[in-house]
Protein backbone atom coordinates (compact mmCIF):
# COMPACT_ATOMS: atom_id res chain seq x y z
CA UNK A 1 0.00 0.00 0.00
CA UNK A 2 1.41 3.34 -0.96
CA UNK A 3 0.13 6.52 0.53
CA UNK A 4 0.10 9.04 -2.29
CA UNK A 5 0.62 12.09 -0.14
CA UNK A 6 1.87 14.51 -2.73
CA UNK A 7 -1.11 14.35 -5.13
CA UNK A 8 -3.91 16.84 -4.99
CA UNK A 9 -6.89 15.38 -3.11
CA UNK A 10 -9.45 13.46 -5.17
CA UNK A 11 -12.13 14.06 -2.55
CA UNK A 12 -12.29 16.78 0.06
CA UNK A 13 -14.69 18.69 2.26
CA UNK A 14 -14.18 22.24 3.47
CA UNK A 15 -15.81 23.54 6.65
CA UNK A 16 -18.68 21.13 6.05
CA UNK A 17 -21.71 21.58 8.31
CA UNK A 18 -24.59 19.16 7.81
CA UNK A 19 -27.48 17.45 9.58
CA UNK A 20 -31.13 16.51 9.21
CA UNK A 21 -32.41 19.37 11.35
CA UNK A 22 -31.48 22.91 10.55
CA UNK A 23 -30.70 23.89 14.13
CA UNK A 24 -28.98 20.63 14.99
CA UNK A 25 -25.95 20.00 12.77
CA UNK A 26 -24.29 16.64 13.32
CA UNK A 27 -21.26 17.36 11.16
CA UNK A 28 -20.01 20.68 12.51
CA UNK A 29 -17.29 22.05 10.27
CA UNK A 30 -15.25 19.17 8.92
CA UNK A 31 -12.17 19.61 6.73
CA UNK A 32 -11.38 16.23 5.33
CA UNK A 33 -9.42 15.14 2.29
CA UNK A 34 -8.43 11.95 0.54
CA UNK A 35 -5.55 11.56 -1.95
CA UNK A 36 -5.80 9.46 -5.06
CA UNK A 37 -5.28 5.79 -4.30
CA UNK A 38 -5.37 6.41 -0.58
CA UNK A 39 -7.18 4.18 1.92
CA UNK A 40 -8.64 6.29 4.71
CA UNK A 41 -10.53 4.94 7.67
CA UNK A 42 -12.95 7.19 9.58
CA UNK A 43 -13.05 6.35 13.28
CA UNK A 44 -14.65 7.82 16.33
CA UNK A 45 -17.06 7.10 19.17
CA UNK A 46 -20.74 6.47 18.59
CA UNK A 47 -22.60 9.57 17.49
CA UNK A 48 -19.41 11.32 16.39
CA UNK A 49 -20.88 11.97 12.96
CA UNK A 50 -18.80 9.52 10.89
CA UNK A 51 -21.79 8.02 9.17
CA UNK A 52 -23.44 11.39 8.70
CA UNK A 53 -20.25 12.77 7.14
CA UNK A 54 -20.09 10.09 4.46
CA UNK A 55 -23.85 10.27 3.87
CA UNK A 56 -23.50 13.99 3.41
CA UNK A 57 -20.71 13.47 0.89
CA UNK A 58 -22.97 10.97 -0.90
CA UNK A 59 -25.78 13.53 -1.01
CA UNK A 60 -28.14 11.94 1.50
CA UNK A 61 -27.99 14.53 4.27
CA UNK A 62 -28.80 18.22 3.82
CA UNK A 63 -25.70 20.44 3.78
CA UNK A 64 -26.03 23.60 5.89
CA UNK A 65 -22.75 25.18 4.80
CA UNK A 66 -19.32 24.32 3.45
CA UNK A 67 -18.36 22.47 0.28
CA UNK A 68 -17.66 18.99 -1.00
CA UNK A 69 -15.13 18.74 -3.86
CA UNK A 70 -14.65 15.70 -6.08
CA UNK A 71 -11.65 15.85 -8.39
CA UNK A 72 -11.64 19.62 -7.95
CA UNK A 73 -15.31 20.05 -8.93
CA UNK A 74 -17.87 21.35 -6.43
CA UNK A 75 -20.43 18.59 -5.93
CA UNK A 76 -22.00 19.95 -2.72
CA UNK A 77 -25.48 20.48 -4.12
CA UNK A 78 -25.39 17.63 -6.62
CA UNK A 79 -28.18 15.08 -6.13
CA UNK A 80 -26.95 11.61 -5.18
CA UNK A 81 -27.89 9.98 -8.49
CA UNK A 82 -25.59 12.46 -10.28
CA UNK A 83 -22.67 11.88 -7.94
CA UNK A 84 -22.24 8.30 -9.03
CA UNK A 85 -21.95 9.51 -12.64
CA UNK A 86 -19.02 11.63 -11.48
CA UNK A 87 -17.24 8.65 -9.98
CA UNK A 88 -18.36 8.77 -6.34
CA UNK A 89 -19.68 5.38 -5.22
CA UNK A 90 -21.30 4.93 -1.82
CA UNK A 91 -22.23 1.73 -0.02
CA UNK A 92 -24.72 2.44 2.78
CA UNK A 93 -24.47 0.57 6.05
CA UNK A 94 -27.83 -1.20 5.96
CA UNK A 95 -30.29 -1.95 3.20
CA UNK A 96 -27.54 -1.50 0.66
CA UNK A 97 -28.95 -3.89 -1.94
CA UNK A 98 -32.40 -4.29 -3.52
CA UNK A 99 -33.61 -7.42 -1.78
CA UNK A 100 -36.62 -7.95 -4.06
CA UNK A 101 -34.50 -7.79 -7.21
CA UNK A 102 -32.17 -10.50 -8.48
CA UNK A 103 -28.39 -10.25 -8.22
CA UNK A 104 -28.22 -9.55 -11.93
CA UNK A 105 -30.89 -6.86 -11.74
CA UNK A 106 -29.03 -5.17 -8.89
CA UNK A 107 -25.94 -4.93 -11.09
CA UNK A 108 -27.95 -3.97 -14.19
CA UNK A 109 -29.41 -1.00 -12.34
CA UNK A 110 -25.94 0.19 -11.41
CA UNK A 111 -24.66 -0.41 -14.95
CA UNK A 112 -27.42 1.76 -16.37
CA UNK A 113 -25.23 4.76 -15.58
CA UNK A 114 -22.65 3.50 -18.12
CA UNK A 115 -22.81 3.76 -21.90
CA UNK A 116 -24.83 0.88 -23.36
CA UNK A 117 -21.92 -0.98 -24.96
CA UNK A 118 -19.94 -1.20 -21.72
CA UNK A 119 -22.70 -2.46 -19.45
CA UNK A 120 -22.46 -6.20 -20.06
CA UNK A 121 -18.66 -6.14 -20.01
CA UNK A 122 -18.57 -4.48 -16.62
CA UNK A 123 -21.13 -6.86 -15.13
CA UNK A 124 -19.13 -9.76 -16.56
CA UNK A 125 -15.93 -8.39 -15.04
CA UNK A 126 -17.57 -8.16 -11.63
CA UNK A 127 -18.93 -11.68 -11.88
CA UNK A 128 -15.34 -12.77 -12.53
CA UNK A 129 -14.18 -10.81 -9.51
CA UNK A 130 -17.00 -12.14 -7.27
CA UNK A 131 -17.57 -15.73 -8.43
CA UNK A 132 -20.06 -16.23 -5.58
CA UNK A 133 -22.36 -13.78 -7.34
CA UNK A 134 -21.52 -14.90 -10.86
CA UNK A 135 -22.60 -18.44 -10.13
CA UNK A 136 -26.24 -17.47 -9.48
CA UNK A 137 -27.19 -14.23 -11.23
CA UNK A 138 -30.95 -14.88 -11.11
CA UNK A 139 -30.98 -15.44 -7.34
CA UNK A 140 -33.05 -12.94 -5.35
CA UNK A 141 -30.64 -10.67 -3.52
CA UNK A 142 -32.79 -10.93 -0.40
CA UNK A 143 -31.90 -14.61 -0.10
CA UNK A 144 -28.16 -13.96 0.16
CA UNK A 145 -26.25 -14.30 3.44
CA UNK A 146 -24.98 -11.21 5.23
CA UNK A 147 -21.46 -11.46 3.83
CA UNK A 148 -22.71 -12.12 0.30
CA UNK A 149 -25.01 -9.12 0.55
CA UNK A 150 -22.05 -6.92 1.45
CA UNK A 151 -20.15 -8.33 -1.50
CA UNK A 152 -23.07 -7.61 -3.81
CA UNK A 153 -23.28 -4.07 -2.42
CA UNK A 154 -19.56 -3.56 -3.05
CA UNK A 155 -19.77 -5.13 -6.51
CA UNK A 156 -22.68 -2.86 -7.31
CA UNK A 157 -20.61 0.17 -6.29
CA UNK A 158 -17.66 -0.97 -8.43
CA UNK A 159 -19.74 -1.39 -11.60
CA UNK A 160 -19.14 2.23 -12.57
CA UNK A 161 -15.35 2.01 -11.92
CA UNK A 162 -15.56 4.80 -9.34
CA UNK A 163 -12.74 7.18 -8.55
CA UNK A 164 -13.70 7.03 -4.86
CA UNK A 165 -15.40 4.16 -3.03
CA UNK A 166 -17.03 5.04 0.31
CA UNK A 167 -18.15 2.23 2.61
CA UNK A 168 -20.28 2.86 5.68
CA UNK A 169 -19.48 0.14 8.24
CA UNK A 170 -19.47 -2.88 5.98
CA UNK A 171 -18.70 -5.09 8.99
CA UNK A 172 -21.93 -4.25 10.82
CA UNK A 173 -23.79 -7.37 11.80
CA UNK A 174 -21.27 -9.80 10.31
CA UNK A 175 -19.45 -12.59 12.11
CA UNK A 176 -15.69 -12.01 12.73
CA UNK A 177 -14.69 -14.59 10.13
CA UNK A 178 -16.84 -12.96 7.45
CA UNK A 179 -15.59 -9.52 8.51
CA UNK A 180 -12.00 -10.48 7.80
CA UNK A 181 -13.02 -11.83 4.39
CA UNK A 182 -14.87 -8.61 3.60
CA UNK A 183 -11.89 -6.53 4.75
CA UNK A 184 -9.48 -8.58 2.63
CA UNK A 185 -11.69 -7.85 -0.35
CA UNK A 186 -11.76 -4.15 0.38
CA UNK A 187 -7.97 -4.05 0.79
CA UNK A 188 -7.59 -5.84 -2.54
CA UNK A 189 -9.90 -3.35 -4.23
CA UNK A 190 -7.82 -0.49 -2.84
CA UNK A 191 -4.64 -2.21 -3.99
CA UNK A 192 -6.12 -2.32 -7.45
CA UNK A 193 -6.12 1.48 -7.37
CA UNK A 194 -9.58 2.49 -6.10
CA UNK A 195 -9.41 5.33 -3.58
CA UNK A 196 -11.25 4.04 -0.51
CA UNK A 197 -12.95 5.68 2.48
CA UNK A 198 -14.11 3.32 5.19
CA UNK A 199 -16.26 4.14 8.22
CA UNK A 200 -15.65 1.58 10.95
CA UNK A 201 -16.36 0.71 14.57
CA UNK A 202 -14.01 -2.23 14.32
CA UNK A 203 -10.93 -0.14 15.14
CA UNK A 204 -8.13 -2.69 15.14
CA UNK A 205 -9.16 -4.45 11.95
CA UNK A 206 -9.67 -1.13 10.19
CA UNK A 207 -6.33 0.33 11.24
CA UNK A 208 -4.65 -2.85 10.06
CA UNK A 209 -5.75 -2.38 6.45
CA UNK A 210 -5.93 1.42 6.09
CA UNK A 211 -3.17 3.87 5.16
CA UNK A 212 -4.49 6.80 7.05
CA UNK A 213 -7.01 7.31 9.86
CA UNK A 214 -9.19 10.30 10.67
CA UNK A 215 -10.85 10.44 14.06
CA UNK A 216 -14.10 12.35 14.42
CA UNK A 217 -15.39 13.47 17.80
CA UNK A 218 -18.65 15.37 18.21
CA UNK A 219 -18.85 16.30 14.56
CA UNK A 220 -15.28 17.62 14.27
CA UNK A 221 -11.95 16.13 13.19
CA UNK A 222 -10.14 15.45 16.47
CA UNK A 223 -7.08 13.70 15.17
CA UNK A 224 -5.58 12.31 12.01
CA UNK A 225 -2.51 10.36 11.15
CA UNK A 226 -0.91 7.30 9.64
CA UNK A 227 -2.99 4.27 10.48
CA UNK A 228 -0.19 2.02 11.65
CA UNK A 229 1.14 4.66 14.07
CA UNK A 230 -2.30 5.39 15.46
CA UNK A 231 -2.77 1.74 16.22
CA UNK A 232 0.29 1.87 18.48
CA UNK A 233 -0.55 5.16 20.15
CA UNK A 234 -2.18 4.16 23.44
CA UNK A 235 -3.35 7.64 24.36
CA UNK A 236 -5.15 8.29 21.10
CA UNK A 237 -6.55 4.81 21.10
CA UNK A 238 -7.87 5.12 24.61
CA UNK A 239 -9.07 8.71 24.39
CA UNK A 240 -10.95 8.53 21.16
CA UNK A 241 -11.50 4.95 20.31
CA UNK A 242 -12.19 3.27 23.61
CA UNK A 243 -9.49 0.65 22.95
CA UNK A 244 -8.21 -0.74 26.22
CA UNK A 245 -4.55 -1.56 26.48
CA UNK A 246 -3.96 -4.25 29.02
CA UNK A 247 -0.20 -4.04 28.75
CA UNK A 248 1.61 -0.90 29.92
CA UNK A 249 -1.36 0.96 31.35
CA UNK A 250 -0.87 4.71 31.20
CA UNK A 251 -0.33 5.92 34.76
CA UNK A 252 -1.93 9.15 35.75
Amino acid sequence: MTAAGSNSPVLSTQALVAGYERDLPIVRGVDFSVQTGDFVVLLGPNGAGKSTLVKTIAGLVPVHSGTVLLGGADITAMPSHEKIRHGLAFVPQTENIFATLTIHENLQIAANVLPKERRNDRIGALYAMFPDLGSRPSHRAGQLSGGQRQMLAVARALVVEPSVLILDEPSAGLSPKIVSEVFDRIAAINDAGVTTVLVEQNVKAALAIADRAVILVEGLVAHEGVASQLADDPIVAELYLGVRHTKNPVSS
Binding site: A58, G59, S80, H81, E95, F98, T100, V113, V160
Partner: protein
Protein backbone atom coordinates in the same frame (compact mmCIF):
# COMPACT_ATOMS: atom_id res chain seq x y z
CA UNK B 1 -73.40 -17.67 -10.94
CA UNK B 2 -75.42 -17.01 -14.02
CA UNK B 3 -73.28 -16.67 -17.13
CA UNK B 4 -74.35 -13.12 -17.80
CA UNK B 5 -73.27 -12.01 -14.34
CA UNK B 6 -69.92 -13.59 -15.11
CA UNK B 7 -69.55 -11.46 -18.24
CA UNK B 8 -70.64 -8.29 -16.41
CA UNK B 9 -68.26 -9.06 -13.59
CA UNK B 10 -65.33 -9.61 -15.93
CA UNK B 11 -65.97 -6.32 -17.69
CA UNK B 12 -66.36 -4.25 -14.53
CA UNK B 13 -63.45 -6.15 -13.06
CA UNK B 14 -61.12 -5.32 -15.93
CA UNK B 15 -61.91 -1.61 -15.57
CA UNK B 16 -61.32 -1.78 -11.82
CA UNK B 17 -58.12 -3.72 -12.46
CA UNK B 18 -56.72 -1.11 -14.85
CA UNK B 19 -57.47 1.65 -12.36
CA UNK B 20 -56.06 -0.39 -9.49
CA UNK B 21 -52.75 -0.86 -11.32
CA UNK B 22 -52.30 2.90 -11.19
CA UNK B 23 -53.24 2.99 -7.50
CA UNK B 24 -50.88 0.17 -6.63
CA UNK B 25 -47.97 1.68 -8.60
CA UNK B 26 -48.31 5.17 -7.18
CA UNK B 27 -48.84 3.68 -3.73
CA UNK B 28 -45.75 1.50 -3.85
CA UNK B 29 -43.49 4.21 -5.22
CA UNK B 30 -44.86 7.39 -3.66
CA UNK B 31 -45.95 5.55 -0.53
CA UNK B 32 -49.37 7.06 -0.04
CA UNK B 33 -52.93 6.16 -0.93
CA UNK B 34 -53.93 8.62 -3.61
CA UNK B 35 -57.59 9.54 -3.18
CA UNK B 36 -57.40 11.56 -6.39
CA UNK B 37 -56.74 8.52 -8.57
CA UNK B 38 -60.44 8.00 -9.27
CA UNK B 39 -60.55 11.51 -10.68
CA UNK B 40 -57.98 10.56 -13.32
CA UNK B 41 -60.49 7.94 -14.46
CA UNK B 42 -63.25 10.55 -14.72
CA UNK B 43 -61.02 13.21 -16.28
CA UNK B 44 -59.73 10.66 -18.77
CA UNK B 45 -63.28 9.82 -19.80
CA UNK B 46 -64.24 13.49 -20.23
CA UNK B 47 -61.03 14.43 -22.01
CA UNK B 48 -61.66 11.61 -24.49
CA UNK B 49 -65.22 12.89 -24.92
CA UNK B 50 -63.99 16.36 -25.79
CA UNK B 51 -61.20 15.17 -28.09
CA UNK B 52 -63.38 12.66 -29.91
CA UNK B 53 -66.04 15.34 -30.33
CA UNK B 54 -63.43 17.67 -31.81
CA UNK B 55 -62.08 14.96 -34.11
CA UNK B 56 -65.60 14.15 -35.28
CA UNK B 57 -66.19 17.83 -35.96
CA UNK B 58 -63.01 18.05 -38.05
CA UNK B 59 -63.77 14.95 -40.08
CA UNK B 60 -67.21 13.38 -40.01
CA UNK B 61 -65.88 10.16 -41.47
CA UNK B 62 -64.11 9.44 -38.17
CA UNK B 63 -67.54 8.98 -36.63
CA UNK B 64 -68.56 6.11 -38.92
CA UNK B 65 -68.63 2.98 -36.77
CA UNK B 66 -65.70 0.63 -37.30
CA UNK B 67 -66.90 -2.87 -38.25
CA UNK B 68 -69.11 -4.35 -35.56
CA UNK B 69 -68.31 -1.67 -32.98
CA UNK B 70 -70.52 1.21 -31.91
CA UNK B 71 -67.89 3.92 -32.39
CA UNK B 72 -65.76 5.35 -35.17
CA UNK B 73 -62.02 5.93 -35.34
CA UNK B 74 -62.48 9.18 -33.46
CA UNK B 75 -62.80 7.31 -30.16
CA UNK B 76 -59.63 5.18 -30.19
CA UNK B 77 -57.68 8.20 -31.44
CA UNK B 78 -59.23 10.33 -28.72
CA UNK B 79 -58.45 7.67 -26.11
CA UNK B 80 -54.75 7.79 -26.94
CA UNK B 81 -54.68 11.61 -26.91
CA UNK B 82 -56.72 11.69 -23.70
CA UNK B 83 -54.37 9.22 -22.04
CA UNK B 84 -51.50 11.58 -22.79
CA UNK B 85 -53.51 14.55 -21.51
CA UNK B 86 -54.49 12.71 -18.32
CA UNK B 87 -50.83 11.85 -17.79
CA UNK B 88 -50.12 15.57 -18.17
CA UNK B 89 -52.82 16.34 -15.61
CA UNK B 90 -51.24 13.91 -13.14
CA UNK B 91 -47.83 15.53 -13.68
CA UNK B 92 -49.37 18.94 -13.13
CA UNK B 93 -51.02 17.88 -9.86
CA UNK B 94 -47.72 16.36 -8.76
CA UNK B 95 -45.78 19.47 -9.70
CA UNK B 96 -48.02 21.89 -7.80
CA UNK B 97 -49.12 19.73 -4.89
CA UNK B 98 -47.47 16.40 -4.10
CA UNK B 99 -43.99 17.31 -5.30
CA UNK B 100 -43.58 20.30 -2.98
CA UNK B 101 -45.00 18.27 -0.08
CA UNK B 102 -42.47 15.51 -0.78
CA UNK B 103 -39.62 18.01 -0.96
CA UNK B 104 -40.62 19.06 2.52
CA UNK B 105 -40.65 15.45 3.70
CA UNK B 106 -44.28 15.77 4.72
CA UNK B 107 -45.92 12.90 6.58
CA UNK B 108 -47.69 10.27 4.50
CA UNK B 109 -50.95 11.39 5.97
CA UNK B 110 -50.45 14.98 4.78
CA UNK B 111 -50.06 13.61 1.26
CA UNK B 112 -53.22 11.55 1.69
CA UNK B 113 -55.06 14.64 2.87
CA UNK B 114 -53.75 16.67 -0.04
CA UNK B 115 -54.92 13.97 -2.44
CA UNK B 116 -58.32 14.18 -0.80
CA UNK B 117 -58.44 17.93 -1.43
CA UNK B 118 -57.22 17.43 -4.99
CA UNK B 119 -59.93 14.81 -5.59
CA UNK B 120 -62.68 17.18 -4.50
CA UNK B 121 -61.27 19.99 -6.58
CA UNK B 122 -60.89 17.89 -9.71
CA UNK B 123 -64.28 16.21 -9.38
CA UNK B 124 -66.20 19.41 -8.83
CA UNK B 125 -64.34 21.11 -11.62
CA UNK B 126 -65.69 18.40 -13.92
CA UNK B 127 -69.16 18.90 -12.53
CA UNK B 128 -68.84 22.63 -13.10
CA UNK B 129 -67.67 22.25 -16.69
CA UNK B 130 -69.86 19.36 -17.82
CA UNK B 131 -72.73 19.46 -15.25
CA UNK B 132 -73.85 16.30 -13.51
CA UNK B 133 -75.81 15.11 -16.55
CA UNK B 134 -74.45 11.82 -17.89
CA UNK B 135 -72.74 11.94 -21.29
CA UNK B 136 -72.06 9.24 -23.91
CA UNK B 137 -69.46 8.65 -26.60
CA UNK B 138 -71.99 7.21 -28.95
CA UNK B 139 -75.73 6.94 -29.14
CA UNK B 140 -75.57 3.71 -31.13
CA UNK B 141 -77.07 0.69 -29.42
CA UNK B 142 -75.43 -2.67 -29.75
CA UNK B 143 -76.95 -6.07 -29.67
CA UNK B 144 -75.21 -8.71 -27.60
CA UNK B 145 -74.54 -11.88 -29.51
CA UNK B 146 -74.32 -15.32 -27.95
CA UNK B 147 -70.86 -16.70 -27.24
CA UNK B 148 -72.07 -20.14 -26.24
CA UNK B 149 -72.74 -21.50 -22.79
CA UNK B 150 -75.43 -18.90 -22.23
CA UNK B 151 -72.83 -16.12 -22.37
CA UNK B 152 -73.69 -13.02 -24.40
CA UNK B 153 -71.53 -10.00 -25.10
CA UNK B 154 -71.51 -6.99 -27.40
CA UNK B 155 -68.49 -6.43 -29.66
CA UNK B 156 -67.62 -3.35 -27.57
CA UNK B 157 -67.51 -5.46 -24.42
CA UNK B 158 -65.25 -8.05 -25.97
CA UNK B 159 -62.95 -5.37 -27.33
CA UNK B 160 -62.73 -3.81 -23.88
CA UNK B 161 -61.73 -7.12 -22.34
CA UNK B 162 -59.11 -7.62 -25.03
CA UNK B 163 -57.64 -4.14 -24.61
CA UNK B 164 -57.49 -4.58 -20.84
CA UNK B 165 -55.67 -7.90 -21.21
CA UNK B 166 -53.13 -6.41 -23.64
CA UNK B 167 -52.51 -3.40 -21.40
CA UNK B 168 -51.97 -5.51 -18.28
CA UNK B 169 -49.57 -7.79 -20.12
CA UNK B 170 -47.65 -4.77 -21.47
CA UNK B 171 -47.36 -3.16 -18.05
CA UNK B 172 -46.21 -6.44 -16.58
CA UNK B 173 -43.51 -6.80 -19.24
CA UNK B 174 -42.50 -3.17 -18.79
CA UNK B 175 -41.99 -3.72 -15.08
CA UNK B 176 -40.21 -7.05 -15.25
CA UNK B 177 -38.15 -6.79 -18.42
CA UNK B 178 -37.10 -3.19 -19.02
CA UNK B 179 -34.63 -0.81 -17.43
CA UNK B 180 -37.33 1.67 -16.46
CA UNK B 181 -39.34 -1.17 -14.90
CA UNK B 182 -36.30 -2.25 -12.88
CA UNK B 183 -35.85 1.33 -11.73
CA UNK B 184 -39.49 1.50 -10.66
CA UNK B 185 -39.17 -1.68 -8.63
CA UNK B 186 -35.93 -0.41 -7.11
CA UNK B 187 -37.51 2.92 -6.13
CA UNK B 188 -40.51 1.17 -4.63
CA UNK B 189 -38.20 -0.92 -2.46
CA UNK B 190 -35.75 1.75 -1.32
CA UNK B 191 -35.82 5.30 -2.52
CA UNK B 192 -32.62 6.41 -0.83
CA UNK B 193 -30.58 3.52 -2.19
CA UNK B 194 -32.06 4.14 -5.64
CA UNK B 195 -30.53 7.60 -5.66
CA UNK B 196 -27.20 6.20 -4.45
CA UNK B 197 -27.05 3.67 -7.30
CA UNK B 198 -27.71 6.36 -9.86
CA UNK B 199 -31.46 6.25 -10.46
CA UNK B 200 -33.07 9.64 -11.00
CA UNK B 201 -35.92 9.12 -8.55
CA UNK B 202 -37.82 12.16 -9.76
CA UNK B 203 -37.84 10.82 -13.29
CA UNK B 204 -39.16 7.47 -12.08
CA UNK B 205 -41.89 9.23 -10.12
CA UNK B 206 -42.91 11.11 -13.26
CA UNK B 207 -43.03 7.85 -15.22
CA UNK B 208 -45.23 6.27 -12.58
CA UNK B 209 -47.68 9.17 -12.62
CA UNK B 210 -47.88 9.05 -16.39
CA UNK B 211 -48.37 5.30 -16.47
CA UNK B 212 -50.97 5.26 -13.70
CA UNK B 213 -52.92 8.20 -15.08
CA UNK B 214 -52.79 6.83 -18.64
CA UNK B 215 -54.23 3.50 -17.51
CA UNK B 216 -56.85 5.30 -15.43
CA UNK B 217 -57.85 7.26 -18.53
CA UNK B 218 -58.30 4.08 -20.56
CA UNK B 219 -60.39 2.58 -17.75
CA UNK B 220 -62.50 5.74 -17.82
CA UNK B 221 -62.97 5.54 -21.58
CA UNK B 222 -64.06 1.91 -21.25
CA UNK B 223 -66.53 2.78 -18.50
CA UNK B 224 -67.81 5.65 -20.61
CA UNK B 225 -68.20 3.43 -23.64
CA UNK B 226 -69.97 0.58 -21.85
CA UNK B 227 -71.93 2.50 -19.21
CA UNK B 228 -71.89 6.28 -19.19
CA UNK B 229 -69.69 9.27 -18.35
CA UNK B 230 -70.47 11.15 -15.13
CA UNK B 231 -68.41 13.49 -12.94
CA UNK B 232 -69.01 11.10 -10.00
CA UNK B 233 -67.66 8.03 -11.82
CA UNK B 234 -64.24 8.42 -10.24
CA UNK B 235 -65.66 8.73 -6.74
CA UNK B 236 -67.80 5.64 -7.28
CA UNK B 237 -64.78 3.67 -8.46
CA UNK B 238 -62.45 4.79 -5.68
CA UNK B 239 -63.36 2.20 -3.07
CA UNK B 240 -63.25 -0.72 -5.55
CA UNK B 241 -59.84 0.58 -6.73
CA UNK B 242 -58.43 0.65 -3.20
CA UNK B 243 -59.98 -2.71 -2.37
CA UNK B 244 -58.41 -4.24 -5.49
CA UNK B 245 -55.00 -2.64 -4.90
CA UNK B 246 -54.87 -3.89 -1.30
CA UNK B 247 -56.33 -7.30 -2.13
CA UNK B 248 -53.76 -7.76 -4.89
CA UNK B 249 -50.92 -6.69 -2.62
CA UNK B 250 -49.51 -3.17 -2.89
CA UNK B 251 -46.98 -3.02 -5.70
CA UNK B 252 -48.16 -6.12 -7.54
CA UNK B 253 -49.47 -5.43 -11.05
CA UNK B 254 -50.79 -8.93 -11.75
CA UNK B 255 -52.22 -8.89 -8.23
CA UNK B 256 -54.07 -5.63 -8.86
CA UNK B 257 -55.56 -6.97 -12.08
CA UNK B 258 -56.59 -10.29 -10.59
CA UNK B 259 -58.02 -8.56 -7.54
CA UNK B 260 -59.85 -6.12 -9.82
CA UNK B 261 -61.50 -9.08 -11.54
CA UNK B 262 -62.36 -10.60 -8.15
CA UNK B 263 -63.98 -7.34 -6.98
CA UNK B 264 -65.84 -7.00 -10.29
CA UNK B 265 -67.13 -10.57 -10.17
CA UNK B 266 -68.12 -10.22 -6.51
CA UNK B 267 -70.06 -7.08 -7.37
CA UNK B 268 -71.84 -8.82 -10.24
CA UNK B 269 -72.66 -11.75 -7.97
CA UNK B 270 -74.00 -9.42 -5.30
CA UNK B 271 -76.19 -7.67 -7.85
CA UNK B 272 -77.66 -11.09 -8.69
CA UNK B 273 -78.12 -12.25 -5.15
CA UNK B 274 -79.01 -9.22 -3.05
CA UNK B 275 -79.82 -6.48 -5.53
CA UNK B 276 -78.14 -3.75 -7.51
CA UNK B 277 -78.58 -1.14 -4.78
CA UNK B 278 -75.94 -2.89 -2.65
CA UNK B 279 -73.31 -3.08 -5.38
CA UNK B 280 -71.07 -0.37 -3.92
CA UNK B 281 -71.03 -2.05 -0.51
CA UNK B 282 -69.18 -5.07 -1.90
CA UNK B 283 -65.85 -3.31 -2.20
CA UNK B 284 -66.17 -2.28 1.46
CA UNK B 285 -66.96 -5.82 2.56
CA UNK B 286 -63.96 -7.13 0.59
CA UNK B 287 -61.76 -4.41 2.06
CA UNK B 288 -62.78 -5.29 5.62
CA UNK B 289 -62.18 -8.97 4.95
CA UNK B 290 -58.67 -8.43 3.57
CA UNK B 291 -57.71 -6.13 6.42
CA UNK B 292 -58.96 -8.75 8.87
CA UNK B 293 -57.50 -11.83 7.24
CA UNK B 294 -54.52 -10.88 5.10
CA UNK B 295 -53.57 -7.20 5.25
CA UNK B 296 -50.60 -7.71 2.91
CA UNK B 297 -52.97 -8.89 0.16
CA UNK B 298 -52.71 -11.88 -2.13
CA UNK B 299 -49.29 -11.15 -3.60
CA UNK B 300 -47.94 -8.63 -1.11
CA UNK B 301 -44.99 -8.90 1.20
CA UNK B 302 -45.90 -8.86 4.90
CA UNK B 303 -44.70 -5.72 6.60
Amino acid sequence: MNPQALMDGLITGSMIGLGAIGVTLTYSILRFANFAHGEFVAWGAYLALVVSGALGYLSGSLLTPIGPFSFGWSLPMAAVIAAALTAGLALLVDAVLFGPLRERRSAVIILVMASFGAALTLRNLLEFIFTSQPAYYTKALQIAFPLGGGLRATPDQLLTLGVAAVLVASVHILLTRTAIGRSMRAVSENQQLSGVVGIDVRKVIRMVWMLGAGLACIAGVMAGLLVQIRPQMGLDLLLPLFAAAILGGIGSVPGAMLAGLIVGLAEALAVQLIGAEWRSAIAFVILVMILLLRPQGLFGRPE
